[in-house]
């Protein structure tokens, strides 16, 4: 196990370094002058040149890459070109929205998806099962930004139970902050809950046909008891792995929902930063995302291997 873990960690570090290089190279290729963008249509060549020098855009590439990597190792992600504040601070601010949002979406998807899957499996073949699975099919098929709009119209504009968007910082009003995340969390959770329901059902149905369930029933347990004590635990493994992947996907994929609910999240930060050619910010934010996603997958692999020694060859 230790050997496996070490090998994965080395792989993790290698992936990160390559990712950093890729990000750096790609962004260097971006057309569009950041200095010109800040100063606008009527600015003179001299002003633009002055700002370019100020922004340090004229040093050679390898030098800038090394400076960047070393800086990051020390927690310094540089100064945003357009906003003149440390990138690390900006990212932390935005993470305080995106991270809880992803967690909330995951919790909601589990709370809604797993019981539905369980119910469908228990009643498999009956009308309830078909209805629930049809619901799940639809849930996967609805674009989450569309669903978000619908939620806003009903709960925010119509009923006024929840805010239509925006975000108050946690420090200012934690209750309001949480309320602001509910509708976007639901929008994100819908497809995930539907997937979980289907996976849970399939896993349980599969497990139910296996020998050890029949043994348990032979020992006198009812079908439900057997399903719960043996089935669910075994079905949870693929479900757990999906959850891990979902989290990684959520963190990175929230930008569209952030737009719909005007949340100051990480996705929107990157989007705006790229349109404004704020290369320092884009680099920093992207690498943070990459780290979070890769780390999550690392954890998933390690947990999987811990639980099932057969998979230590390297989880597929």
């Amino acid at each position: 196990m230790i050997g496996f873990a070490l090998r994965r960690l080395v792989g993790f570090a290698a992936t990160l370094l390559v990712a950093a290089a890729v990000i750096f190279l790609l962004l260097d290729l971006l057309p569009g002058d950041p200095a010109r963008f800040v100063l606008g249509i009527n600015a003179s060549e001299a002003s633009v040149a002055a700002l370019r020098a100020q922004m340090g855009l004229d040093a050679p590439a390898p030098e800038r890459f090394i400076r960047w990597v070393i800086g990051m190792a020390q927690g310094d992600f540089g100064l945003s070109s357009t906003q003149k504040v440390p990138v690390a601070g900006l990212i932390a601010e935005r993470m305080s929205v995106t991270f809880p949002l992803s967690m909330l979406a995951m919790v909601l998807s589990v709370v809604v998806g797993l019981p539905i899957g369980l119910l469908a499996a228990r009643r498999r073949g009956k009308a309830v099962d078909t209805a629930l699975m049809a619901l799940a099919q639809t849930g996967i098929a609805i674009p989450n930004f569309w669903f978000g709009m619908l939620l806003t119209l009903v709960f925010a504009v119509g009923l006024r139970w929840l805010p239509p968007g925006g975000f108050t910082p946690w420090g200012e009003n934690p209750g309001a902050a949480l309320r602001a995340l509910i509708l976007p969390g639901l929008a994100l959770a819908l497809p995930q809950a539907s997937i979980l329901a289907r996976v849970m059902r399939t896993a349980l149905v599969d497990v139910a046909e296996q020998d050890f369930i029949r043994t348990a029933r032979a020992k006198g347990m009812t079908r439900d008891e057997a399903l719960w004590r043996h089935g669910v635990r075994n079905a949870l493994l693929p479900v757990l792995t999906i959850l891990g992947l979902q989290f990684a996907y959520l963190i990175a994929g929230t930008i569209i929902v952030e737009n719909v609910f005007y949340l100051p999240g990480l996705g929107r930060l990157i989007f705006t930063a790229i349109s404004e050619r704020d290369l320092v910010l884009v680099r920093g934010a992207t690498i943070v995302l990459v780290v979070v996603v890769t780390a999550t997958m690392l954890l998933v692999d390690l947990t999987y291997a811990l639980v099932d020694p057969r998979l230590r060859r390297e989880a597929p």
Partner: protein, 492 residues
């Protein structure tokens, strides 16, 4: 009645009374589509910066009022020498910056030297080039000497690019703007909102609002929901396509006003076939202005026949110079050597009016044989391709600077129009400070550039604001970029 009940009633009465007194709100939440990249209007061109801080946090020597006229600002009065080269300003007394430091003539000198410095990052530095020297006569008097007379000088002093800043705080204005205005900056939650609060020691008339929050919402549908749910109280410029939601609604008022934005189909005059007058005339005949205005601005745009704002006293209605006539267009193209039309690209920046106009124009041009390829790009790309490298055929953009007809006198400007006659007229215009003379010169230029069909003159952008019906004091027109909070207040 028992004592307890009387007390309870008294308490209830007290709560109700204070509640009623507090019911007159003094705070406002304003929705804004674009978040500014920074908050220093003297170091960046984004209109979004002025929307938040112009005349709210910062002030200049003069200020522009809702009609576009020049009013006294930090300067309570001024005199101009007979030759128009020396301006002496008398400054208000007792003015403080928001960090407590005092304001005096030294700050004025500092602000202008900063604009004109070698390494200045002021986006409109060229406008202030005529300034030769700024002299402090005494703490409340400052004299500015120009190298030549400038008819727009006082107006230019009132722009966001020339607001007065303090040497103690200027360097950090991008993040923490410190000005002399009626509102002080409180905080900026990036990606989310900017909060301003009334500055109690303000030197002038105190505004009615005590707190203003600018909330950044880029998506129209989202902004609609935010307005309907009451999460924001209004927005100064709402997308015209969804105005119908608010027009019949008694809880809202829709304010339709003018802006300084001339929207044009900019043509690269240097590049064939656009260097031929007949080709440009053909394109002008192929444009169906009313269809474009209806489709792109839902009828709120105002047609223009030249590069000038229709609401301006100097405007000349030249919309009939080349009326919509596809047959005439085809004939002119044939005469110019393109009987089967030609192909060209149309580069479009990321604004709704440009993207929509682009599609409509492409369809209109197709009927006369001009095949347009639409290329959508982000602002950064557009600035590089079109503005800097002049690598384009056609593009659509709105020029929002007030009184910017002078761009037609710059042969190096992106559309490359080089007419010595216009250049000479423009020089005279800049130097003149007589209103009648300026009007004549301006109209001469307007006529020439219309006849030469330099660009396709489409429409003047309207400002379509949506506000809570109980608000009043908002500017209906936008003679200059900004959302001025000074007169806004709630009524019952």
């Amino acid at each position: 009645m028992s004592l307890a009940r009387s007390l309870a009633l008294a308490m209830a009465g007290l709560v109700l009374a204070t509640g009623a007194a507090l019911a007159q709100p003094t705070e406002i939440r304003i929705g804004v589509a674009l978040e500014p990249p920074a908050l220093d209007p003297t170091a960046g061109a984004a209109e979004a910066i002025d929307v938040v801080v112009y005349q709210n946090v910062f002030e200049g020597l003069t200020r522009i009022d809702e009609t576009g006229a020049v009013q006294p600002g930090l300067a309570e009065s001024w005199t101009v020498s007979a030759d128009g080269l020396t301006y002496r300003f008398k400054l208000h007394d007792g003015v403080r910056f928001h960090d407590g430091t005092g304001f005096d003539a030294e700050d004025v000198k500092f602000s202008f030297e900063r604009i004109l410095a070698e390494d200045s990052v002021n986006a409109q530095k060229a406008l202030y080039a005529p300034i030769e020297a700024v002299e402090v006569i005494d703490p409340l008097t400052v004299e500015i000497k120009l190298s030549r007379p400038d008819g727009l000088f006082l107006f230019n002093l009132g722009r966001g690019d020339a607001v007065i800043v303090a040497p103690e705080s200027a360097d950090n204005n991008a993040n923490e703007p410190i000005g002399t205005g009626p509102f002080a900056f409180v905080q900026w939650d990036r990606g989310s909102r900017v909060i301003l609060e009334r500055y109690e020691p303000y030197w002038g008339d105190k505004p009615a609002l005590t707190k203003a929050t600018y909330v950044f919402i880029s998506d129209t549908a989202t902004m609609t929901n935010a307005l309907l749910a009451g999460d924001i109280d209004g927005t100064n410029n709402f997308a015209p396509e969804a105005l119908a939601v608010f027009e019949g609604n008694p809880q809202f008022k829709v304010l339709v006003g003018s802006t300084e934005g001339e929207t044009i189909l900019a043509t690269n005059n240097r590049k064939a076939p656009f260097d031929q007058l007949k080709v440009r005339q053909a394109m002008a005949h192929a444009l169906n202005r009313s269809e474009i205005i209806e489709g792109a601005t839902y009828g709120y745009g105002v047609p223009i026949g030249t590069h000038f704002a229709p609401h301006h006293p100097y405007y000349l209605d030249l919309t009939d110079t080349y009326p919509f006539d596809p047959d005439a267009a085809r004939a002119l193209l044939a005469e110019a050597g393109f009987p089967n039309g030609f192909s060209a690209t149309l580069k479009l920046p990321p604004v709704a009016y440009a993207r929509l106009s682009g599609q409509i124009i492409a369809s209109e041009f197709a009927t006369v044989g001009i095949k347009l390829e639409l290329i959508n790009m982000e602002w950064a790309q557009w600035l590089e391709d079109v503005l800097t490298n002049k690598d384009f055929d056609l593009t659509i953009v709105s020029h929002v600077e007030p009184f910017d007809i002078g761009i037609y006198a710059d042969p190096n400007y992106y559309f490359g129009y080089d007419n010595p006659e216009v250049q000479a007229l423009n020089e005279q215009l800049n130097a003149s400070i007589d209103d009648g003379e300026r009007k004549t010169l301006a109209q001469e230029i307007e006529t020439i550039i219309a006849k030469d069909a330099v660009n396709g003159y489409l429409f003047e952008l309207a400002q379509t604001g949506v506000w809570n019906a109980r608000l009043t004091g908002m500017w209906q027109n936008a003679p200059i970029e900004g959302v001025v909070l000074r007169d806004i207040h709630w009524v019952d």
